[in-house]
């Protein structure tokens, strides 16, 4: 090994390794416009559907008439959570489909760096997908989610972090149970949708279900969203709850991912896994 081949080690090298994986997935996106289109397709379809439902309901519902953008904002923010989770899981499964994990895990890439790369790529994918849909909504429904200003950033950050946490846990499960478990990536997040209060207030849920709802960061975000859009009031208490819960969720998601990675090493799944 000649030393002139190498850069200095340490934090710079770590960032470079995370960047390398990021570039790997950006190459993939750059080389396939259908992939980029697919990222925007479902968020846009959802936004258009709920946009027209809103147009209809706004004349038939006094509640919606107060804030016509509440459903559309809910749809777009829900997609931040969904795409955030899917971004992590799909990027990880891309490595499994290409049978590339063995090469990655014998390179100096650390498992935590792999996780950081997954989260970074999820952010890119979510910005393309949901950002595209949000831009389409402006000419189509004369509605801009960006008018929310800074609270939007807080909601976005909390939802994508929750998506990351679930995405990491799902990736760990797929690593442990193989690609037979990949449907988890598509369905896992929908278990929390009914209790997240995306389209309705948490108060309409049965009381016992409200306890579950308040244990989810997403419920605090969507309640906070309604407070901004309907009451024109930013609830910092809800934001704080969401952020604290997210710390726990992200730590748990990372712990599940690392634990299943350790199990995969014991069971010999890192070399054999693939299509």
């Amino acid at each position: 090994m000649s030393s002139d081949l190498y850069r200095a080690q340490g934090a710079g090298a770590s960032l470079r390794r995370i960047g390398a994986l990021l570039i790997r997935h950006l190459y993939l996106l750059r080389g396939s416009w259908p992939r980029v289109l697919e990222l925007m397709y479902w968020p846009t379809v959802q936004m258009v559907l709920w946009g027209f439902i809103t147009l209809f309901l706004v004349n038939h519902s006094s509640w919606l008439a107060q804030a016509s953008g509440v459903l559309l904002t809910g749809v777009l923010l829900w997609d931040v959570l969904f795409r955030g989770q899917l971004g992590v899981s799909l990027v990880f499964m891309e490595e499994m489909w290409s049978r590339n994990l063995g090469h990655l895990f014998v390179s100096p890439l650390r498992t935590t760096e792999l996780a950081a790369a997954l989260l970074s790529m999820s952010l890119v994918r979510t910005l393309i997908g949901v950002g595209g849909a949000a831009l389409v909504a402006i000419p189509l429904f004369h509605f801009s989610v960006f008018d929310m200003g800074l609270p939007l950033l807080a909601f976005f950050a909390n939802l994508i972090v929750m998506g990351w946490a679930i995405g990491l846990a799902v990736s760990g499960i797929v690593l442990r149970y193989g690609l037979g478990a990949e449907s988890m990536a598509w369905i896992a997040i929908f278990a929390v949708q009914p209790v997240s209060g995306v389209y309705y207030p948490i108060a309409i849920l049965p009381e016992w279900l409200q306890w579950i709802a308040w244990a989810l960061p997403s419920s605090h975000v969507f309640e906070g969203m309604r407070a901004v859009l309907i009451d024109h009031h930013f609830r910092s208490d809800l934001l704080l709850n969401a952020a604290l819960l997210n710390l726990v969720y992200l730590a748990a998601g990372l712990a599940v991912f690392l634990a299943y990675f350790r199990i995969a090493r014991v069971r010999g799944q890192l070399l054999q896994i693939g299509e």
């Binding site: 190498y6 390794r17 090469h103």
Partner: protein
């Protein structure tokens, strides 16, 4: 303290009821090329995976560069690399993109120059900008070997490195491995079913059967010991349990 670059002591790996690697003991000195031989299911790939840290041993220790792989994995990995037919590269990316990603993962300073050197060494020039998935099996093998040399590893682990290459290209790759070792002083451990490759490249041979080390020696020593003309005949003797007991089952190491 041993000066061995690879030191394996009482290494075992159990998968359920199957003991894939059973109490392995061996050492490899720096700069040696060693073959890991055995029939299908003998434990070669499992042993390589254990050495790479892809698998956690059920028992025993692996020391590489004087460091325990379980405790110092990330200090060791930048100094080694591997190729295996059981692991692939992203198929939609071009050869150049794949090599560039791994060059960055290994912290290579001048990525373009390094890829150019390897493309020249492994005759990849014409396929550098083609998607990896569109290449023939032989071309892919050359790309994976190029990936395994990106960081100029001090320890190179190769699982059947010439398995899908035509005789001409296989010969070229063997020559390249010889030159690489001469130039860098690297230590090479390769699993192979090609006995002429073993005779040409390897200083030492480790023979595995059902996860156990059943014989070892230089190719010349093994030929003499078994009274055979070539390593293929020695391989068959050992695979059919006609090996000559030399006490390795008791944990002998050389």
């Amino acid at each position: 303290m041993s000066s061995a670059l690879v030191r394996v002591a009482s290494l075992s790996k159990q998968f359920g009821d199957v003991r894939a690697v059973d109490d392995l003991n061996f050492e490899i000195a720096p700069g040696r090329t060693t073959a890991l031989l055995g029939g299908n299911g003998a434990g070669k790939t499992t042993t390589l995976s254990l050495l790479l840290g892809l698998l956690k041993p059920s028992a025993g220790t692996i020391t590489l560069f004087g460091l325990d792989i379980e405790r110092h994995r990330y200090r060791i990995l930048p100094r080694m690399n591997f190729s295996s037919p059981y692991v692939d590269l992203p198929r939609r990316l071009t050869v150049r993109q794949n090599l560039a990603i791994y060059a960055r993962l290994y912290g290579i300073l001048d990525v373009r120059r390094r890829i150019a050197v390897l493309a020249d060494d492994l005759k990849l020039g014409e396929i550098l900008d083609r998607p990896y998935g569109q290449l023939s099996a032989g071309q892919r093998t050359r790309v994976v070997i190029a990936k395994s040399m990106l960081n100029e590893p001090e320890l190179l682990l190769l699982d059947e490195p010439t398995a899908s290459l035509d005789p001409d290209t296989a010969d070229y790759v063997r020559g390249l491995l010889e030159q690489y070792r001469k130039r860098t002083g690297a230590t090479i451990l390769l699993a192979s079913h090609n006995m002429s490759e073993v005779e040409r490249l390897c200083d030492d041979v480790l023979m595995l059967r059902r996860g156990r080390l059943v014989d070892r020696g230089t190719p010349a020593e093994l030929l003499t010991r078994y009274g055979r003309r070539n390593m293929e005949e020695v391989f068959i003797d050992i695979a059919r349990e006609r090996h000559i007991a030399i006490g390795l089952d008791d944990g002998d190491s050389a």
